[in-house]
Amino acid sequence: MRLGLLFAIVMHAAVILLAAFYIVRVTPMPVPANDIPVDVVDVAPETNIKAAAPKDEKPAEKPAPEAAPPVPPESAPPEPPANQAILAPEEKPAPKKPEPPKPQEKPKPPAEDKPKDEHFDPNAVQVLIDKAKKQQKKDQKTADAPAPGADDKPREKAGAGTANTVDVTDLLINAMKRQVGACWSFPAGAVQPEDLVVWIDIQLRPDGNLVGAPQVEEQGRMNEPYFRAAAEAAVRAINRCQPYDLPAEHYDVWKEMRLSFDPRHMVGQ
């Protein structure tokens, strides 16, 4: 009986450990932003608009979503393309990241926007509006909910978490993406951008400054000229934009970070 119980405990522990590590590796996979079909065009003005927009679009877009909550996009064909793009996100009220059923709704509204005037790309505008709306919703939710304790809550990120906990992570991720992305300059026209994804580990002090230098994970690849140039550009971006503006009450969550710099959508060859 003793042996059986011991065996059961050890196996349970093994399964829990396996689940813990496996799920950790799965969730941080590339952002759902990749799921949105966007036409990346090479011409200069459109590329620049993507980079600048997240900061500027936020205040401008606030009035529009409030004005039209209940209207589903399928019943609004006669409206001009701009409004259709703004209304489409209403289908997905919850944040994108954790719940599996929700992301499946996303491909539908963008697909409707396909046949459009070539100079105005509503898909590109919709991406920006999605981001702005997510940011706005998160700000509202975290303002309402009490600040969760950081020690045991992050574990629930594994898929069963409360909406509040997941929002904190999303909020922090979006804040870092915005701040580091503003400083990250990547040379246009690089060859094989899928090979140039750089992972970097950093540690931050409570005031948002770095502790020590950012560490590039794949040190063995630093003798490849393209990878080294990409890694140094990423390190430069991190160094340039400190101190980082992040909520102090969640310091335990963001004091250590792994950043991945993925140039595939920027280089667009």
Binding site: R155, K177, A188, M257, H265
Partner: protein, 442 residues
């Protein structure tokens, strides 16, 4: 019983401990940034004497200009510099450079040796990481300071982008002058930034389509010397011009193979143009195409396994690719309009071409399998793309419309990045056409 309990507690504790450690680092995926140029500070190179200081200032100006024209760098106005007492033997005050957001700092010095040679030292600093990235020293004759500046610019370019540079190169082109009805066309060569233009022929004979050898200081081109248009080879160092094979017919559109040992060209015989490859050592030629259509403008892939060319066998000018022995000739251009002058990139990933559609000309690129066609420029007449040796920049010539009174019609060289950014005029002494980019000068 006791040890059993301890073991149980230990098992649970280790599970929780491991789990909490696994969640410690927040993972942030960053997939948008910007394509802004890297802000670089290039202060004048330090020199003890006034002559050295002057050369130091000139070298810094050429480096700045090269980096800026590439479109990937943005040199900071020297008036904004805070630290003005840079010393090659000391580490810069990085805080002073961070204040002006300089991401890279170039510093150097120029000194004259006892034997009259110039010694140029330079360092490239990463301002935010506070590390030195490159430290090099060069020796040269004082008149050659421009090449040192280009070589330093290439080093900076390569370190910060990972690509080989293209600043220490030359461009051969046809310099045109005179009225439209009596054009004088001379072969000319200049540095890629437009400096040091030199004429190689005197204009007595018509010269067309010059092409650089990728490995030697030789140019091949078409000349009608003696009344018959044929392909010649010109050695820049010796100045000797030599006929490339005496064929019974007109030869044109020559292009070197990547190893510089063969020349592919079109031979026109009794009204039919086909592509031949001639081995320069044995002067034996091999016929590659055998169609009644016009096959011309051959260009080798950098691994020498494939050749792209232009043919009108389908009824209009289109692009084709075949093996270097002439087999497997297949069409790769299927868009609207006509395609001409295909040129394989030295990087091997793209083929540049001239496209004619709806009365307008375009310079474009496509992948060697014909997919991913992108048009980079558009105008009344854009033609004749040539690649920089790192496969990132294309130079071409653009002609303006000639008006009814005979004015207009200027022909100039322009360059553009392969992403479609950074279209720039290349300074030439007068009208210019048919550019060909040299490899990096050895």
């Amino acid at each position: 019983m006791n040890s059993f309990r301890v073991l149980t507690i230990f098992a649970f504790a280790s599970v929780f401990a491991a789990a909490s450690q696994a969640f410690a680092a927040l993972v942030v995926p960053i997939d948008t940034g910007n394509l802004n140029p890297i802000k670089t500070a290039v202060p004048a190179l330090h020199g003890q004497t006034s002559k050295e200081a002057e050369i130091g200032g000139d070298i810094a100006a050429v480096i700045s200009s090269d980096l800026q024209r590439s479109g990937l760098f943005k040199p900071i106005d020297p008036q904004a510099f805070v630290q003005r007492d840079l010393d090659m033997a000391a580490v810069p005050r990085f805080q002073d450079w961070r204040v002006i957001d300089a991401q890279a700092l170039v510093m150097g010095s120029v000194a004259t040796q006892e034997d009259g040679r110039l010694r140029v030292d330079f360092r490239l600093w990463d301002v935010y990481s506070e590390q030195q990235m490159i430290g090099q020293r060069y020796f040269t004759t004082p008149e050659n300071w421009r090449r040192i500046a280009h070589i330093v610019a290439d080093e900076i370019y390569k370190r910060l982008t990972g690509e080989d540079g293209y600043f220490d190169t030359r461009v051969v082109f046809i310099a045109e002058s005179g009225p439209k009805t009596q054009r004088v066309k001379r072969l000319a060569i200049m540095d890629q930034d437009g400096a040091n233009p030199t004429f190689l022929t005197n204009g007595a004979n018509l010269v067309l389509t010059p092409r650089f050898s990728p490995s030697t200081q030789e140019i091949t081109y078409l000349s009608d010397y003696g009344g018959r248009p044929r392909v010649y080879i010109f050695n820049i160092e010796s100045g000797r011009q030599e006929l490339l094979g005496d064929f019974p017919g007109m030869t044109f559109a020559p292009r070197f193979s990547p190893d510089g040992k063969s020349v592919a060209m079109s031979l026109d015989h009794a009204g039919n143009s086909d592509i031949y490859v001639m081995d320069l050592a044995t002067r034996r030629s091999q016929r590659l195409t055998d169609s009644p259509a016009i096959d011309t403008a051959p260009s080798f892939s950098p691994d020498r396994r494939l050749i792209t060319f232009e043919s009108d066998r389908s009824g209009t000018q289109q692009m084709y690719v075949m093996n270097a022995d002439g087999t497997n000739q297949h069409r790769i251009s299927f868009g609207e309009g006509r395609y001409a002058t295909p040129v394989w990139s030295p990087r091997g990933d793209l083929i540049a071409f001239t496209k004619i559609k709806g009365g307008l000309f375009y310079i474009g690129v496509m992948k060697p399998d014909g997919s991913g066609e992108r048009l980079l420029t558009e105008s009344f007449l854009d033609e004749g793309p040539t690649w920089a040796p790192n496969g990132r920049v294309i130079m071409f010539f653009r002609a303006g419309r000639t008006r009814a009174d005979g004015s207009g019609g200027e022909t100039r060289l322009w360059s553009i990045d392969l992403t479609g950014y950074n279209e720039r005029l290349v300074p030439t002494p007068g009208d210019a056409s048919d550019p060909a980019w040299s490899p990096l000068i050895p």
